[in-house]
Amino acid sequence: MFETLIVQPFTNILLMITMVVKNFGVAIILFTVLIKLLTYPLQRSQIKSTQKMQDLQNDPRFKKMKEKYGDDKERFAQEQMKLYKELGINPFGSCLPTLIQFPIIIGLYQAIMKAMATTPFELLNLERLVYPFLDVNKILPIQNQFLWMDLGQPERLNIFGIGIPVLTILVVLTSFVQSKVMTPPSSGDGTDQAAAMTKSMNLYMPLMMGYFAYSLAAGLALYFLVTNLITIAQYAMMGRVDWSKMFSFGSNTAAPSVVRGPSSGKPSQVDKSSGIRIIETTGGGKNYDADDVSSASDAKNVESEAKPVKPSARSATKMQRPKRKR
């Protein structure tokens, strides 16, 4: 079913592109770009939904609700749903696009795998996937040579007799950047489990991808590279990439203690007495960061409990959000 609905059409489209451009490497790049463009609206909606959910975790109302109903799970769930409704958040908003994208991504991967037939058995399976209206004789065999790479073999660039895995290095680098841009900045203090896991993931995932790029066929490594680059570009286009912090190898949650306010461009400051971050606006008024206080009625309560704000990567990205005036 999956093969007929997803993998077979994808494989045939990939083969048709190969027939037109006469180069399998270029076809992989074009096909990956095409699929990523088609799934871009889904990814965009997923990113936005994820962001909304993350923001909610820091909403004082949510925090308050958690404190109040934390022990009563049923009530907490009810209140949570109410809050979702009030704020217009669809709790499945980030899951659904991911679920829809998942078979497409798997199909894309499998189509590339199948088109790169390197053994007679794989060639037989590929021949059987080709639609009857396509002349299999014009398509097969596929020329696997792209630049210095044999796309059917693990890639090495031979320089003075030394095989350098250029594609592997590029995959590791772009996987690292991609994991950085995709990781939502943590609002925690960096010692919680989620933050530690994220940090580990950011380190190990590129290494794992590198291992696969090193040992699998170059065609797949090329696909990994193109996917990474497109994902980074998509996040960048949505204004979600902070290049200045990209290559800081410190804690993922670490951020400059001073961030620039959205309208004044002046640095925000931390109120020493309360620990609440204050961002100056052009009108001269003061905005309290929504993480710390969201309304005047809450402010008193929060102020009394507030602890000094620890540096957070989140600070840098939440500048775009509207602040409530006191």
């Binding site: 053994t119 007679p120 021949e127 004789n137 489990q193 530690a196």
Partner: protein, 369 residues
Amino acid sequence: MKKKSLIKIFVLLLAAGILSACAAGPRVATIPGITATAEAVYVSYGPHIYKATGFEAEKLTEAWRFPVKPNVNAQINAPALIDGERVIVGDFAKVLHVLDDKTGAETTNFTGATGWYQAQAVRDGDLVIVPNNDKKIYAIKDSGEIAWTYETKYAYLDNVVVDNGLVYVAQQDKKLVALDQTSGTEKWSVDFTGALPSAPLYDPDTKALYAGGLGRSVSAVDAITGKLLWTSNADGRLASIWGTPVMVDGNLIVSDEKGQLIAFDPKTGAVRWNIEGSGKTMAGPLAIPGGVVVVTEDGTAKAYKDGALKPTWTQSISYEDKKDIRVFTTPILADDTVIIAAQMDRNANVLLVGFDLNGNQQWTFSPQK
């Protein structure tokens, strides 16, 4: 162990799991390679090559396996060359191994190629000629020194054929090429209508080469001059041909992907008879005395003998309670035994079955994990 370390291990395992799932199954889908002598059968599959002996028993005995400890990066699927007391076989880690036939221990190896080996090596005088996935054919001296190489645009999938001082090569670029045996220089090449995934048949009587492929036709070529003698698609009946044709009693017999058996006049290409296919078939036909055996992918073996257009015998390959037995490898004949290699357990295991020429099962062999 610290909490952080546990988290790191968990993340690593999770990432490995996800990525392994993406690359599920064997890294490269292949089929078993088989070779046999009167005393032993050699099967290359997965991470090992196995030697099995004891044809008199119902179950063969594993004499040895190489390597003893499996290397996941070194699949072995090429049929072995039995070269006197040596067994020569290439793997997917780009190594051509020379093994001691008695013990299975490696005596030497050749690491000069840069691609996988999936074709059988051929002995020619003091040279071993072996095609590789790096798009080259290597002629290697016994000393391990390369005598010559020949390069093309596509990976080589099957063995070469040597005769008349020439090396005949079926190529994926739709060409049949003849190389000089001593220098590797190209003597002639003939264009075919499709890629040629299997070795050509050389018939010393007609001094012609016969080959078919994805072009859904079969052609005859003069083995000395390279002149194309004839091409036939059997009036459009032929599907893709994955196996080498065979010559039986003056008939050139071809089996195609639909399982059809078509007999041609080797001199003119005229169709003499045609047997309808009974299932998808990748394996080529096997010539047996007075007939031919063909095995469909579902593991049904049929023998046609003495010009009969109905099978003389039919056997379904079975083993214990296995239900997913599939056959893609061309069977071989050794000492009047038809040996069929099947894949089972979702391609994780190999099964060998031996039949006598009357279709009676003689023995089975499946290596222990």
